[in-house]
C-alpha cells in the first residue's frame, strides 16, 4: 500500500480488500465495553480541516482515539490561516510538531497531494474540493459489502489474506445520482467501486456532469426512472449549492422532480436494493424525508461504518513499519 491516501485510484483491489477486511474486524470492537486499542500509542494525528465538516472530522477523531493516537484538531477558523498563513507554512508548523499523520480537508482540489510533498508524515485526504474523498468511498463500499453479505464470514477468521476474508463487489449495480460535477464522493466512489468490480452508472442532469465523464469507468444516463429497476444500490448525492456559482438547473423543485428520490421512485427498486447518501442531506431536494428514514436507507449505518473504516486506514498506514513511498 502507498504511504499516503490521496485518491481512491491509489488503491489496488488487494489494498481495498485489505482495508475492508481490517475494518470488518475493527467494527467488532465497537460492541465492546472498552472500545480502545493500544496500537497507535505515542503517534500523533493532526486533523487539518480548512472546510466545515461534522461527520468526517468527528469520525477521524474517534478513529484515531480508539487506536490510542494523540489527536490535534485544527480548523481554519480561529487559526493563523485567517491571518493569511499559507498552506505550506501551516504544514511546516505541523511538521515541526512531529505529526505522524495529517488528515486534511481543503476546498482546493489537489491540496492533499501538495501537502504530501511537504511533510514527512502520512497524508490522508478527507475531501479536497470537488476532487476526491477516498475514505467516504471506502466506507460506502464497506456498507454495500455488509448489506449484500460479502463481508468476512462469521466463521473463524484466518488472519491471512488468502483465506476466508470477504469478497469484492463483483456484479453489483450501483447507480450514483445527482450533482456529480461538484462531488468528490462520486469521483472516489466511481474509482473504488470499479476497482472492486461493481458496475457503476451515473445519472445526472447534463449540466451537472463533468466534461471528461466519458473517461470515467462508469456508464452515464440522464433518466432516473429507467435506471432504478436495474440498481442494487442507489447513492444520492447532495446538491452542493455552496459550490454552485451559476444556474445548473432551472429550480430546486424541478431538480427534485426529475432527480429526487421519493417513495414512489423507491418502489421501483428491486427488493434487496439499498439507498445511500453520504450526508449531509438536503431533505426534500435530492432525497425525500420518508426515503431517508426508510428501512432501505443505510445513512446512519454509513456514519457508524465510517469510524471502523477510518480506523482501518489509520492502522494500515501508521501501524506498521514505515512503508516505502
Amino acid at each position: 500500500m502507498n504511504r499516503h491516501l490521496i485518491s481512491a485510484a491509489d488503491l489496488t483491489r488487494d489494498d481495498a480488500l485489505l482495508i475492508l477486511d481490517t475494518a470488518d474486524e475493527l467494527a467488532r470492537i465497537s460492541d465492546r465495553p472498552i472500545k480502545k486499542l493500544p496500537t497507535l500509542r505515542g503517534r500523533t494525528v493532526v486533523n487539518l480541516f480548512f472546510e466545515d465538516s461534522t461527520r468526517t472530522r468527528i469520525s477521524f477523531e474517534a478513529a484515531a482515539k480508539r487506536l490510542s493516537a494523540d489527536v490535534i484538531n485544527f480548523s481554519a477558523k480561529g487559526s493563523s490561516v485567517t491571518k493569511g498563513e499559507s498552506l505550506k507554512d501551516t504544514a511546516l508548523t505541523l511538521e515541526a510538531m512531529g505529526a505522524d499523520a495529517v488528515v486534511i480537508r481543503h476546498s482546493a482540489s489537489g491540496a492533499p497531494a501538495r501537502l504530501a510533498g511537504w511533510v514527512r508524515g502520512t497524508v490522508v485526504n478527507a475531501g479536497d474540493g470537488s476532487h476526491e474523498h477516498p475514505t467516504q468511498a471506502l466506507l460506502d463500499a464497506f456498507t454495500i459489502r455488509r448489506k449484500f453479505g460479502r463481508s468476512a464470514g462469521p466463521g473463524p477468521g484466518s488472519g491471512r489474506r488468502s483465506g476466508a476474508p470477504g469478497g469484492a463487489l463483483d456484479g453489483l449495480r450501483v447507480t450514483i445520482v445527482g450533482d456529480v460535477l461538484h462531488s468528490r464522493v462520486a469521483r472516489s466512489n466511481v474509482l473504488l467501486l470499479h476497482t472492486l468490480g461493481a458496475e457503476v452508472t451515473l445519472v445526472a442532469p447534463p449540466t451537472l456532469l463533468p466534461v471528461a465523464v466519458g473517461a470515467w469507468p462508469a456508464a452515464v444516463g440522464y433518466d432516473l426512472d429507467s435506471a432504478l429497476p436495474k440498481s442494487d444500490v442507489v447513492m444520492m448525492l447532495r446538491v452542493q449549492q455552496e459550490r454552485m456559482n451559476a444556474a445548473y438547473f432551472p429550480s430546486v423543485r424541478e431538480y427534485s422532480r426529475r432527480y429526487g428520490l421519493d417513495s414512489a421512485r423507491m418502489a421501483q427498486l428491486p427488493e434487496q436494493a439499498i439507498v445511500m447518501h453520504p450526508g449531509p442531506m438536503n431533505r426534500g431536494v435530492e432525497i425525500a424525508a420518508e426515503v431517508a428514514d426508510s428501512a432501505r436507507s443505510t445513512i446512519v449505518e454509513q456514519v457508524a461504518n465510517g469510524v471502523s473504516v477510518r480506523m482501518a486506514v489509520l492502522y494500515l498506514l501508521l501501524g506498521g513499519a514505515e512503508a516505502q513511498s
Partner: protein, 213 residues
C-alpha cells in the same frame, strides 16, 4: 532425516518416506498426526483435572492455528465431562510489541463466547510458545475484554528461548530448538494435514510464513 527429533517424547515410528511437499530437504516432522491427537487428549484431561471438571473454563485460541486447537480441546473436554465448553478466538495483532518492525498486517478474528470472560478461567491456546511476546500481547488483549478469574496457557509446542517471564500450564511437547530453526505446526483445518515440522531457516523463507512466536 525422518527420525523424531531430540531425546524427549515418544519417538514414534517415522512415516513412510513421503517427499516433503514444497519444502527443502531440511524438513523434519517432529510430531505426526497421531502424536498431536494424543497430546491434545492429554492436555484436555489435564485441563479437566486442574480446573475441577472444566467448570467456568473458556478456551480462547490465538489465530491462526490456536483457534482450531482450542476447538479440538473443547470437543475433547466435552467428551470427557459431557458439558460443552465455551471456546473462541483472541486476535492479538493490535497489541503486539513488534508492530512497528514490519508492515501493517491483516487482523485475525476475535470471537469471545457470548457469556464473556468475567470471572471465568480463560485458557489461552496457541500452537508454538517461543519468545512469550504473543502471550504478553494476549494478556493485554484480555484485559480490554474483561476480568477473568484466572488465565492459563496451553500450547502444542514449547520450543524454548523465552524473552519474557512466561510459562505454559499445559504443553503438548517440549521441543529443544536452536533459534536458527523454524517450527511449523500444520493443522488439517488450515493446512490440510496434521504435523509439526522442524526445518532450518532458509534465509529467504524466514520472513514469510514462520508461525508462532
Amino acid at each position: 532425516m525422518h527420525a523424531a527429533k531430540g531425546a524427549k517424547g515418544s519417538a514414534a515410528a517415522p512415516p513412510a518416506a513421503t517427499p516433503a511437499r514444497g519444502t527443502p530437504a531440511t524438513r523434519k516432522a517432529v510430531l505426526e498426526a497421531a502424536e498431536i491427537r494424543r497430546a491434545l487428549t492429554r492436555i484436555a484431561h489435564e485441563i479437566v483435572e486442574r480446573t475441577d471438571g472444566a467448570v467456568g473454563v473458556v478456551l480462547l485460541g490465538i489465530p491462526t492455528r490456536g483457534v482450531p486447537l482450542a476447538r479440538r480441546l473443547a470437543e475433547r473436554i466435552e467428551q470427557v465431562e459431557g458439558q460443552p465448553v465455551p471456546h473462541g478466538s483472541l486476535d492479538v495483532t493490535m497489541y503486539r510489541d513488534d508492530l512497528r518492525l514490519r508492515p501493517a498486517r491483516a487482523l485475525g478474528r476475535t470471537d469471545v463466547p457470548a457469556a464473556g470472560i468475567d470471572g471465568a478461567i480463560v485458557v489461552l491456546v496457541d500452537d508454538v510458545l517461543y519468545s512469550g511476546r504473543t502471550v504478553r500481547a494476549a494478556l493485554d488483549a484480555l484485559n480490554d475484554l474483561g476480568r477473568p478469574r484466572a488465565v492459563q496457557l496451553a500450547v502444542l509446542i514449547d520450543r524454548g528461548h523465552r524473552e519474557l517471564p512466561v510459562r505454559a500450564d499445559y504443553v503438548g511437547k517440549n521441543l529443544p530448538t536452536s533459534t536458527q530453526e523454524v517450527v511449523r505446526v500444520l493443522l488439517t483445518e488450515v493446512d490440510g494435514e496434521d504435523a509439526v515440522i522442524l526445518s532450518q531457516a532458509a534465509p529467504a523463507a524466514t520472513a514469510s510464513t514462520g508461525s508462532g512466536t
